[in-house]
Structure formats: C-alpha cells, structure tokens
Amino acid sequence: GSDKALNPFAPKPTVVATIKPLALLAQSIAGEDFTVVTLLPPNANPHALAMTIADRQRLDDASLVLWLGAGFERFLAKPMQQRRGAQLELGSLEGLNWPAKSPADLHLWLDPHNIAQALKAITVELTLIEPLNRNVLDQRLASALRELAQREQAIQRELDAFKNVPFAVSHDGYAHFVGAFGLNQLAAATRLPEEQLSARRMYELQKSLAEASCLVVEPGDHSGVKLAKVLGVPAVEVDPLGRAPEITSITTLLQSLTTGFKHCFNPRNRS
C-alpha cells in the first residue's frame, strides 16, 4: 500500500539483497527487469549493523528480500519474522551442500552446487513477482547455470595440483569453497572474528600449522594477520564477499577466490 507512495520513482520491482554476492546472484537472473539493491555497504559487518531509516524503508519497499539466515544477518532476524512480503532465506533451501567440518557455515555462495540451487530458487521467486517475464527469467537461469558449470570445471582444473597442500584459515568462512573443491584445510583458528583464543588452542594451532603453507584471512582481519605473524606462517588475503569493484558476477567472485587460494598454495605467487 503505502510502499509505492513513498517510492514513486521506482516503477520496477526491487530485489533487496543483503550482501554483494547475493546481489550478484539476483542480478544474473533479474537483468533489467528488476532493480537489485545491496543493503549492506561494501564493507560493513553483517553481524553488527545499525540500520538507517532508509535501509529499513528499502526493506519494506522490496518486492523480494534475499538473505542467508538469522545466523548471518542477525539484524534481519526480527524484520524478516514480521515481514509480509516475499523473502528468500537461502540458508533454509532444500538440497544444499553443507561442509562436514562446520555444518552451520552460512557462506554458502562459495559452493557452485549451492549457487545453482540458489539461482533456481531466485528464479522461482522472481517469476512469482513478474509472471509475465517467466520466459526471459528461465532463459537467464539456463545461461547462468551454463556459465557456472564451465567456471566450476575450470577452477577444478586449476586447483587440482594443490589439493594436498595444507593451509589454515583465520576464521571459518571458506568451508563451502574448500569442501566443493576438495582442498586440504588443516584448521580454522576461530569460528567467529570476535572469538578469543585459549592458550591451549594456540599451542595446538602452532603445532598443527607447522607445515601449513599459509593462513587465509579476510581483508581487514587484523587479528588474523597478527595471528599469522605469531604462528610464523604467511597471511594471504582472500575475500569471500567479493568486495573488489572488478568482481561483477558470481563466477568472477569464484575465480578471484581461486586466485587467492593459489597465492596461498604457491610460494612463488606470494610477494
């Protein structure tokens, strides 16, 4: 009702995605028929976001809200409970792959299989909103899935040589990628960035990471960089959120991750 009145210049239905990877997913299906909005600023922390009124208004105005789940975008838990409009909680989709070691990890867009599931679900939701565009949407889905499959194979080939190279991560956000491509992750230092280490854990990490090629950290994870320094392994930045502006699709995001991990595995690539 009042949503349209507050936003008269948006003739196209909007899809609000919480973070950039989800926006990339939505964009590949939505094309020009929807306005896709990313709720979080490129580098904000989804764990502790304080919304502005405009953010809140965007949520209410959205035809579809695309998010991962209360375990990831905590600030959305309550608004989504109350929401009457369409929402797609990717974390609760059927038929997803979950990594064995950290079954609750919601960085699920790092696994091509999950990406495919998500794309399909998004197509269903968008079709419900704009039934007349069904054909176009289906075509976009098909081409997106094709591109994804190709990229997956290419990455598989690229990473094959490094399957046994041991490495560690600072905080457990890469499990889906690691699982999908069968990489040899020795350990994750912490589950969450805020978590503090125990002396025992530190001791064990130091022993088990003796042969690790690197510690993978997110951009801006200063504690991770410090940890790597103390443990005596190089820190390599890999960005699961694809913050870099040249990342414009989910496949380029996967590719950038691959490049990042190769930096870790291949000492010559590191500076």
């Binding site: 976001l49 304080a50 919304m51 009124i53 809140r56 209410d60 905590r74």
Partner: protein, 259 residues
C-alpha cells in the same frame, strides 16, 4: 508514516519517559555504570540461557536481576565505591560470559543479542516496552518521596522509618528490568545512554528533583524526535543518532552559565 517508524517512535518515547526519572536516580546515586554492567550481564545470561535451554529473554532478565542483587549486597560493605563495584561486576560478568561460551562451544554469537535495533521493533515489542516502562514509572511515582528521602540521606531516612534497603533494591531492580527488556528491543547503546544523558542535561536547567526528572523525560523525548529526523535526513543509524542528539542537547545546556 510507515509502520516500523510508528513502532520505533512508540518504543523510544516510552523509554524516554521512564528513563527521565529513573536516569535522575542513576545520576544521583552514581550508578551510571550500571547500564553497561547489565549489558555485560546479559551476555552471561544468554550463554547460561542457552546452556539451561530456557527462554533467552527470561535468562537475560534473571541475570540482570541477579546482578542488581549482587550490587546491593556488595554495597553493604562500604569499603569500595559504587563505580569500582560496578566495574568489577561488569568485567567479571563479561569475562564469565565469554568463558562460558567458549566452554560450551556454543554456536551463537552472543554479541548479536546485545545489538538490538530500534528500527526493527515490532508492534508487540513496542507494547511490551510500553507495559514495562509504564509499570516502572508507576512504581517510581508511588514511592517517589521515599526514594528521594533515601537519596538525600539514607541515615535520616532510616531513622524516620523509611525502609531504605527496600527502596534501594526497588530502584536497582527497576533499572535492571527496564534495561533487560529494552536492551533486546532497541539495543544497549540507546537504553543505557537514555538513562544518563538526558538526566545530566536536565540537571543543569532545573532546581528541584521533580523538575529534573520531568525535564530529563522531555529532553529525552526531544532527542528521540531530533535523532529520528536526523536519521531520516542524513541517512544515519537511528539509535546512535538519538544518542548524539541527546548529547547535543547536553552541550546546549553548557551554554547556560548560571548555577
């Protein structure tokens, strides 16, 4: 006006109304640290609530009330100042919360529980806040004179037959309950700041305790209105904007030279 804005304003005004008088007592009794202590206690509450698998809000409320009780007991030993006691409780509760999370290998990020957001208030949340704030406001009004006599001088009050200890625990519990309920709905920052900042601003303008309490409520309400407007106009987060608006009002009162 969109629904979420109505809910947010309802909750924020209710909090401003009760935070005025309650905050005045906080300032008089030097309990400014108490809000933070309760927030840290809430962390422990969440951890224990998950452990004992009881309702998390209930666990938080229980934990906050326990902290209020502990503070009351420690206050009976007069060798430490209130601020040091609160600091002690605050840090111990936070540390205990962090340790128990780690021990339980709990899968929730406890900090999330501390960051409510005013703009995500639902209508039911707003009603809950209004009910809690109304009840506490009623209690304070009923016991106003006794509470005030206790603040002025506990010894004289005691001799004159006022149940000083009861009043003290009533005050601590009232603060604990308001903070515990409001925290999850509107966020720790907003509720703890609303207790202190408007009362501090009002202190500089008024000459009677009643005026200070009422003034604090009015300044709080003004800060809510101004902060919400700023949040809309400058696209800033709502809670922090309200707090900044209140601080701005305090700065304005510094211009007043007298007293």
């Amino acid at each position: 006006m969109p629904d979420f804005l109505i809910n947010a304003l309802l909750a924020a005004f209710a909090i401003a109304a009760v935070a005025g008088p309650l905050g005045s007592f906080v300032v008089w009794q030097r309990l400014a640290y108490f809000g933070d202590t309760l927030a840290h206690g809430a962390l422990l509450g969440v951890a224990l609530g998950l452990f004992a698998s009881i309702n998390v809000t209930l666990a938080i409320v229980l934990c906050c009330m326990t902290l209020a009780g502990l503070l009351f007991l420690l206050q009976q030993k007069p060798s430490l100042g209130d601020d040091a006691l609160l600091g002690l409780l605050s840090h111990s509760a936070l540390a205990a919360g962090l340790v128990s999370v780690s021990l339980m290998g709990s899968s929730v990020d406890l900090f999330a529980y501390l960051f409510g957001d005013l703009l995500t208030t639902s209508r039911n949340d707003a009603y809950l806040i209004i009910a809690v704030c109304g009840a506490v406001l009623g209690l304070i009004t009923v016991f106003w004179r006794k509470l005030l006599l206790m603040v002025i001088d506990a010894d004289i009050a005691k001799v004159e037959g006022i149940p000083v200890n009861l009043m003290r625990i009533l005050l601590l519990m009232a603060i604990a309950i308001v903070v515990a309920f409001a925290m999850r709905v509107v966020g720790v920052l907003l509720i703890t700041a609303m207790l202190i900042v408007p009362a501090a601003a009002s202190r500089r303008l008024t000459t009677s305790p009643e005026a200070m309490a009422a003034g604090a409520a009015i300044i709080g309400a003004g800060a809510v209105a101004a902060g919400m407007w700023a949040s809309f106009y400058y696209n800033t987060p709502a809670g922090p904007s309200i707090v900044l608006a209140a601080s701005g009002l305090f700065l304005l009162t510094l211009l007043k030279r007298r007293q």
